[in-house]
Symmetry: C2
DNA sequence: ATAATTTGGTTTATAAAATAAACTTGTTTA
DNA sequence: TAAACAAGTTTATTTTATAAACCAAATTAT
């Protein structure tokens, strides 16, 4: 009746991050921070969790002399996102 | 870009309860427990929170000699649910 | 009759999670 | 060269979810 909602995705900030990455395929830390209006600390933690789960991959490079953290969604992450959306529908289908 | 998701509804169990009540308009505690597969303790706590927020109303009656807790969604709760669904769409609209 | 079990929950304690504050490292700018 | 800034990370705090323990009344078994 009510399938389990992937706890990794059922989090406002992590879901926002994944949502961004689904459409952009690649985004830098400051951009994600700006779009989600999250604090850097919170975002850092949530990105770690998504990365640890293999939902996103994180590349640390440089942009000139400045560090630059780039995030991309993985196929695993995309699949999880799609399954999460499907599962959610069971909860919302009154509409 | 990403509207706040009402924290009262962005909870697997509370959302399941609300989802049930949106379609049934009235349900007894044991029925909700069965449908959501929640433990009684957890369900009791979450029902209290929804009730305290005015999202549902809880009526305690008797069914013969046995206590019977009936839950109904309120107009406030229905509105909140609909707004939550709308807000969620911002996060999911890649699909 | 009374002891054990079940029903229908509530209360309390614990585990996990979200979040922000404080900190670090290097880079500009005054 | 000192102050401010950028880009994060780490740590601490607060909140939340969840289950375990508990309670009262009713039913069932002995």
């Amino acid at each position: 009746m009510f399938p389990t909602l992937d706890p990794l995705l059922h989090s406002e900030l992590r879901l926002a991050v994944m949502s961004l990455l689904v459409s952009t395929e690649e985004a830098e830390f400051p951009y994600i921070k700006e779009q989600t209006e999250a604090t850097a600390g919170n975002l850092s933690v949530q990105i770690d969790k998504l990365s640890a789960a293999g939902y996103i991959e994180v590349e640390k490079t440089f942009k000139g002399k400045k560090p630059c953290t780039i995030c991309r969604i993985t196929p695993t992450g995309l699949k999880a996102f799609e399954e999460y959306v499907e599962a959610l529908k069971s909860y919302l289908n009154a509409h």
